[in-house]
Amino acid sequence: MAWIEKQRYLLDLALSSLLRRRGKNLALVLVFTTIVFVLASIFFFTGSIKREASLVLKGSPEVVVQKLVAGRHDLVPESYLTRISGLPGVKNARGRLWGYYFEPTVGANLTVMVSDADVVRQETMVIGKGVARTFQLQKGQVMRFQCADGTERDFRVAEVLSPESELLASDLVLVSTQDFQRLFGVKKGFYTDLVLEVRNSKETATVAEKIKRLLPDTRPILRSEILRTYEAIFDWRGGLLLFTLGGAALAFIIFAWDKATSLSFEERREIGILKAVGWETSEVIALKTWEGIVVSLTSFLIGTIAAYVHVFVASYVLFEPVLKGWSVLYPQFHLIPFVGPYELVALLFLTVVPYTAATIVPCWRAAIIDPDEVMRL
């Protein structure tokens, strides 16, 4: 079809025209690619972490019940567990024992927990990778803990948790029930909190309400609420970063606009020649549009691929601190690569759209050059 053939010619001339002004266009592509790279890195990272978090949280308990005294977290007595188990709609209620142990020598906060099935043997522990790294512990080695009653206790490492669990289990230490009670001075018949499942997932809110009415000094926390909070935080952090990039983005737009507006003498002459030999203004606009498309798509492609490599292969080396928060026990892990069409489209909107918008008017200005100007040159 004639229209397709015409676009081919235009694209051909656009490419040759871009290459003829190599310096200027290379600078443009470089700056554009960098911006895309930074934005894409943020998008990919945030998206991937959100996905990981939600996947992991899928396994967390539906409802967690805490006891509050004067607004602060207190231990839950056995009687509460019995009463909650008796509520209709509640399934598999059990108590959890967990707490924080502060290790002063390295300044690290460890999460000490009794595992669900209570399988850890006495005076042994199962530790997370972050703990192993920080205290340089291997299987079979021993670490000394200070108990609440002033005595000391040695725990032998029975196992180190796999790297896949790092995101949530990096600072984890699993012990037996008795060891836990001894370590923290927790009396028998008390739990840190209760976890339960609900028979009908649509009813979680109702069950939470029942628990609150039954035991007014408790606070039931729903998994969906946690998910929501995580999403919001990641979005907020990611968005904040984007916001701060606003200045850089604006500078880029102005840069792009300037490059498009300032035509060299040679470029003006070329457009004049095209008009003189019979090209219409709309055809010159089409030519310039193709140039813009080539520049933006090239930058977008390179920037996105580089960002993919950066985030999923090089583990996001450049931006880690801002998004993960401060912590001594830093989880090391590889993100699961996932890039959806949604992320790409949003990226396109944030980069190619403003660039194209900035270059429309300069592109038109160039295209309306009168042919008879050429006669006088």
Binding site: A232, D235, L242, S282, Y342, V345, F349, A357, W364
Partner: protein
């Protein structure tokens, strides 16, 4: 305000589009007041050059409108976990009073923009710019609508906050709710199916008649049916087509069909429907310009192409919907 990346992207994009259309409208006013094709003066030449700028801006605005319409819905769908009670875009749009109006405006602006581009294309075929006044008058109508859309979209995003409890599609588009959405769901299925297929058939018939006979009256009826077809189709989507897609008699949501688990079938359905709407609106507008001398040569060809495109769009819509209904074991009768 939720600092979701896509929300930022949509806000920036909408702002730029807004500025562009105001810029275009500004020149539109100039053109309407000073246009005089007969004079060869420098100011007239400048105005002719400006029309190119406006055309380029409008093409861009239209392309953006299409993409942003779908990105908007997609984003609303994506942020559902942040709202209590929302399970898809229907819920998030309900989170505050700006959501649905923003969506409605987006759809209207898309259709108007498409019509503008059709008029522009036809106008450019004529030696004396026959449709220029109409074109810019339409532009002056579209511009405030786009500004309004931007206001509503921004308002919607600004007022979004994750703690809002909203309702899911089950209540907005459920039989026990109040409001238009629910009204369609309780409508008995069989009569709805009849109305849908009858409307499509009638539209197709008039389109074919117009294509073959070039009778302007047939064309006008075909075009006016476009609005009716659009509304009947949306109602049918809510009433029974989406139900077949979900294979669940109580799920009527018009937004969930855009999700991946249903093969993104929603995109095909909505795109073809919007295409049909733009096409028939374009046909109607052009027929009213049929007396213009300078486009006599090109007008029949353009009208033919538009009619074909519109008919194809409606055919596609009906085809996909019917295929989805036939290819499933699910039977809606009896509910």
């Amino acid at each position: 305000m939720i600092l979701h990346p896509a929300i930022l992207a949509l806000s920036i994009g909408s702002l730029m589009t807004c500025l562009m259309i105001v810029y275009a409208a500004f020149y539109g006013v100039r053109i309407l007041r000073h246009w005089d094709l007969q004079s060869g003066s420098e100011s007239q030449l400048m105005l002719e050059k400006k029309t190119h700028l406006v055309s380029t801006l409008m093409s861009y605005v239209f392309a953006y409108q299409l993409c942003s319409l779908f990105l908007f819905i997609f984003t609303a769908d994506k942020i559902t976990p942040l709202f209590v009670g929302a399970m898809c875009a229907a819920g998030t749009l309900n989170a505050n009073g700006y959501g649905y109006p923003a969506l409605l405006l987006k759809i209207i602006n898309f259709i108007l923009g498409g019509v503008w581009l059709i008029i522009n294309y036809t106008d450019n075929r004529g030696i004396d710019y026959p449709l220029i006044k109409k074109k810019y008058q339409l532009l002056l109508l579209i511009a405030p609508l786009i500004v309004l859309e931007w206001i509503f979209q921004t308002g919607y995003f600004l007022k979004l906050s994750p703690d809002i409890i909203t309702s899911c599609c089950g209540s907005t588009f459920g039989s026990d709710g109040s409001g238009l959405g629910s009204a369609f769901t309780v409508f008995p299925i069989m009569p709805m199916k009849v109305i849908f297929y009858a409307t499509m058939a009638l539209t197709g018939a008039f389109g074919l008649v117009f294509y073959l006979s070039r009778n302007p009256r047939a064309g006008f009826i075909f075009a006016s049916m476009g609005i009716g077809t659009l509304m009947v189709s949306v109602a049918s989507l809510i009433s029974f087509i989406s139900v077949y897609v979900y294979e669940l008699p109580t799920h009527h949501c018009p937004f969930c069909i855009l999700q991946r688990e249903y093969g993104y079938v929603g995109y095909f359905l909505y795109l073809s429907l919007l295409g049909g709407a733009v096409g028939s609106a374009g046909v109607g507008t052009l027929i009213s310009a049929r007396r213009m001398q300078s486009i006599q040569e090109d007008l029949p060809r353009i009208l033919r192409r538009l009619t074909t495109a519109t008919l194809l769009c409606y055919l596609l819509f009906t085809g996909i919907a019917t295929a989805r209904m036939l290819l499933t074991d699910f039977r809606l009768e009896g509910y």
